[in-house]
Amino acid sequence: MSATITPSAAPLAPPDREAVLQVRPPSWRTPIILGVLGLLALVAFGFGAKSGTKSTFGLSRGSDAIRIDPVALPTRTTAIVLSVLALALAGQAAWYVSRRRPVPAWLSGVFAAVWLLAFLVWAIEGKSISFVGLLAGSLALAVPLIFGSLSGVLCERSGVINIAIEGELLAGAFLAAVVASLSGNLWLGLLAAPIAGLLVALLLALFALRYVVDQIIVGVVLNVLVIGVTGFLYGRILVQQQDTWNSPGTFQPIKIPLLGDIPLIGPVLFNQTVIVYLMYVVVAVVQVALFRTRWGLRVRAVGEHPAAADTVGIKVNRIRFQNVLLGGLVAGLGGAFFTIGNVGAFAREMTAGQGFIALAAMIFGRWTPLGALFAALLFGFANNLQSILGIVGTPIPSEFMLMAPYLATIFAVAGLVGRVRAPAADGQPYVKS
C-alpha cells in the first residue's frame, strides 16, 4: 500500500482530459457501424453503378451573378472515391477507439455528408439535378426544424422537457398568417408569431412548473389543444373569409450584396427571407449565450443539478420559467416560416409533425444549438432529397428516405451511433423541500 502513498519517481504524464472523462473505454460499435455503412456504399453505390454513366450536378441558377457550368462526374469512379473516403473515416474512428478515445462528433457528421454524397451520385446515375436547388430546398425545409429544435434546447437545458414544440410552431404559423392578413403588414405578422409561441409556452410553464404536472403529458396535450384551436378557427373563420383572414402573402428573399454573389453557397445562404437571417442570428445567440455567458452556465446548472444550483442561490424555477418562455418565442418565430415565410396561407395542421422532427433534431444534435442546427439541416436535406429524387426517379422508394430522420434518431438514442445524453435533471420537477 505504501507504494501508492510515496510519490512516484517517474511523474505521470498529464492525463488526457478526454480519457479521464471517459470512465469506460469507448465502444467499438461506432467504428463498426461506420465501416459496414462504408462497405455498403462501396459495393452498392460504387460497384453497383454502371461504368461509363455520368451524374450531373447543376452548380448555379440562371439568376446568379457568377455562373458555373454544370459538373458531370463519372458515376462509378466518383462513388468509389467517396466510399473509400467514407471507409477511411471509419478507419479513423477505429483509430480513436483503439486509443481509448471517443469518436468525435464532427467525424460522424463528415461521414454522413460523404456517405450521402456517394448515395446521391449513385441515385442520379445518368441524370442531372440542380445542386443549388437541392441545398436551397434543404435549407428551406430545415428552417422551422432549426427554430423548433432551438426551442427544445432552451427548455431542456434548463430541465423542462418540451414536447409542445409542434404546438408552438403551429400557433406561430397561425397567428402570423392571421395578423399579417388582417393588418396587411407582414412585419406585424412576424411580430405576432413569437407571441403565439409564447402563449403556448406560458401554458407549458404554468402546468409543468406551477402545478407540477408531468411535462411530457402537458406537452402532448398542448399539441392537441393547439391543433384543435387553430383547426377550429381555421374551419370557422379563415376558410369562410379567406381574403380578410388568411391571405398574408410571403416575405420576398433579400439578397445580401457580395455574400449573395459567392458561387454555390451565396444563392443558398444569402439570398433568403428575413426569417432565415433571423435564424442565423438566433442560432449564434443561443449557442454563445448557453456556453459562453454566466446566464448560460446558470441555465445548464439548473438543468443538470437543480439542488446544487439552488444551494448557490440560483432561482431554479424562475430560470426554468424564463427558458420555457424563451423557447416559446423562438419556436413561434419558426412557425411564421410556414405561413408568411413560405406558403402564404395557413392550413389545418400544416406543421404536420415537424415539431417532432425538431425534437429529434435536438436529440440528434446532443442538446446543443450547433448540433441541433446540423441535425436539422441533415433532416432537411434527407427530406428534400427524397422529393427531388422522386421527380427524377430513383431506385429507393421515397417513403424509406422520409423515414431516415426518425430511424437515425432511434439509432442515436439507442446508442448505436455514439451515445446521446440529456441534461441530467431534464423532466424532473424541482420542488423545494
Binding site: E156, I161, I163, L203, F207, Y211, V212, V213, D214, Q215, I216, I217, V218, V220, V221, L222, N223, V224, L225, I227, G228, V229, T230, G231, F232, L233, Y234, G235, R236, I237, Q240, P306, A307, A308, R348, G353, F356, L359, A360, I363, E399, F400, L402, M403, Y406, L407, T409, I410, V413, A414, G415, R421, A422, A424, A425, D426, G427, Q428, P429, Y430
Partner: protein
C-alpha cells in the same frame, strides 16, 4: 444510465393510486374533480363557439347599442352546437324512426371501441411507469396485420376473424415491443422511440400501399383490397347499426388488463417496476423483461384497435387508418387515470364527443376540431387539481399530481 440523483426530489407517488384516505374521500374527490373538469372544458369550448360564430361577429359590431343581440346570438350558437352534439352522440329526438333516433348511440360506440383499446395500451404502460406515445404506430401495424390476413388469406367464417384479430395483435406487439426492447437493452427513452416509430409506421404503411401485395388493383389512390366478409367483425344489432363485435372484444380486453394488473403475478411485477424500478430490481424482478413485456402487451392492445378499424368499420386499409386515435388514446388513458374501468368510461365519453362532433359539424357548421379542444382541456384540468379547485373554490383534500415519466435519462 443517469447517476443516482440522491438529492433530487423523490417523484410524487404514482397518480393512479392516490393514498386512499378513510371513507373513500379520494374517490369522491376524483369524481367531482373529473366532472368539474369536463364542465370547465365545455364552458371554454362554448366561448370558442360563440366567438367564432358569424352571427355573433355580426352583432358584436353594434354591441354597445344593442348588447342583447350579441348575447342572444352567442347563446343560440352555443345551444345549437351542443344540441347537435348530444343529438349526434346519444339520442336524436328529431329522427323519423326509432332506429334513426338510436343510431347516434351506435356511432358513439363505434368511435369508442378503438379508443378504449388504444387507451388501454397507454394506460397499461402508465401503470408500469412507461409513457407509450406510440399507440398511433402500433395501431397502424395492427391494421396492416389484420388487413393482410383479412384480404389475402381465405379461411372459414369465424376462424378468419380470429386469425385477423390475432394478426393485428401481433403487428401491434412487434411495434410496441421494439421500444420496450430498446429501453430494456440500451436505455433509450420510450417516449422518443415511440414518437419516431409512429412516423416510421406511417411511411411504412404508405410504402406498403404502393406495393402489389397491398394495393387494390384498378385503383389509383393508395387503398388496399377490402377484407373478405368472413373476416369482418359481425354487427351486433343488425345492419342498420354500425356497432360491431369489437365492443365485446374490447370489454373483454379491459377486463383482461384489470385481471393482469390486479390479480396476476406478472401484473404485480409490472406495477412494482412502475412504482419503483430500483426496489423492484432489489426484490429480484427483472426490470428489463418487465419493460419489454409491458410494451409488447400494450402494443398488442393498440394493434387490436387497428384491427377493429379494419375488420369492424373501414374494411380496407388506407393511409389514414389510424385517424389520430393513437393520440386521442393518450387523453383517454389520462382521463381514465390509467385504470381499465376509467379508460373504458373515458373512451365512451370521447367516443361520444367524436360522434357528436361529426353531427355538430354537419348540422351547425361548427368544425369538429372543437372536440380536440374540449378533450385536451379536460385532461389539462384533471392534471392540475389545484387549478380546478381554485376556480371553484373547493378546499383541497390532498395534493395529487400527475407524474408518470421521470425525465429522458430515467
Amino acid at each position: 444510465m443517469s447517476a443516482p440523483t440522491v438529492d433530487a426530489p423523490a417523484p410524487p407517488p404514482a397518480p393512479q393510486e392516490p393514498a386512499p384516505p378513510p371513507g373513500g374521500g379520494a374517490l369522491r374527490d376524483t369524481i367531482v374533480l373529473t366532472l368539474l373538469s369536463v364542465l370547465l372544458a365545455l364552458v371554454v369550448g362554448a366561448v370558442l363557439i360563440a366567438i367564432a360564430s358569424p352571427d355573433v361577429q355580426n352583432s358584436a359590431g353594434y354591441f354597445f347599442s344593442r348588447p342583447q343581440d350579441m348575447l342572444g346570438d352567442a347563446w343560440t350558437a352555443i345551444a345549437d352546437a351542443y344540441k347537435a352534439l348530444v343529438q349526434g352522440a346519444l339520442f336524436d329526438w328529431t329522427a323519423d324512426s326509432a332506429r334513426g333516433a338510436l343510431r347516434p348511440l351506435s356511432e358513439s360506440l363505434v368511435f369508442a371501441v378503438p379508443l378504449i383499446s388504444a387507451g388501454l395500451a397507454v394506460a397499461l404502460a402508465f401503470k408500469a411507469g412507461l409513457f407509450n406515445i406510440g399507440a398511433e404506430g402500433q395501431i397502424i401495424l395492427g391494421a396492416i396485420g389484420a388487413a393482410y390476413v383479412g384480404f389475402s388469406w381465405s379461411l372459414p367464417w369465424g376462424g378468419h376473424t380470429l386469425v385477423a384479430l390475432a394478426a393485428g395483435l401481433l403487428g401491434g406487439a412487434i411495434w410496441g415491443g421494439i421500444p420496450g426492447l430498446l429501453k430494456a437493452r440500451t436505455g433509450a427513452h420510450e417516449v422518443i422511440t415511440t414518437i419516431m416509430l409512429n412516423y416510421i409506421a406511417r411511411y411504412l404503411l404508405a410504402f406498403l400501399l404502393t406495393t402489389s401485395a397491398f394495393h387494390r388493383p384498378g385503383r389509383s389512390d393508395p387503398i388496399s383490397p377490402a377484407v373478405d366478409s368472413t373476416a369482418e367483425l359481425p354487427r351486433l344489432f343488425g345492419s342498420s347499426f354500425r356497432i360491431h363485435a369489437g365492443l365485446v372484444v374490447v370489454l373483454l380486453a379491459a377486463w383482461g388488463v384489470w385481471w393482469l394488473l390486479e390479480r396476476s403475478t406478472i401484473g404485480f411485477r409490472f406495477r412494482a417496476v412502475g412504482a419503483n424500478p430500483s426496489a423492484a430490481r432489489t426484490a429480484g424482478i427483472s426490470v428489463a423483461r418487465s419493460t419489454f413485456g409491458v410494451m409488447a402487451i400494450a402494443g398488442s392492445l393498440a394493434g387490436l384497435a387497428g384491427a377493429f378499424q379494419i375488420l369492424g368499420t373501414e374494411k380496407s386499409l388506407t393511409g389514414g387508418v389510424s385517424a389520430g386515435i393513437g393520440f386521442d388514446a393518450i387523453t383517454v388513458a389520462l382521463l381514465g387515470r390509467g385504470s381499465p374501468l376509467g379508460t373504458v368510461l373515458a373512451g365512451l365519453l370521447f367516443g361520444a364527443l367524436r360522434a357528436g362532433g361529426v353531427t355538430m359539424q354537419a348540422r351547425t357548421g361548427t368544425p369538429i376540431d372543437i372536440v380536440l379542444v374540449v378533450q385536451s382541456l379536460i385532461v389539462l384540468f384533471i392534471a392540475a387539481p389545484p387549478l380546478v379547485r381554485s376556480i371553484f373554490r373547493i378546499r383541497a383534500a390532498g395534493v395529487e399530481t400527475m407524474q408518470v415519466s421521470k425525465g429522458w435519462n430515467a
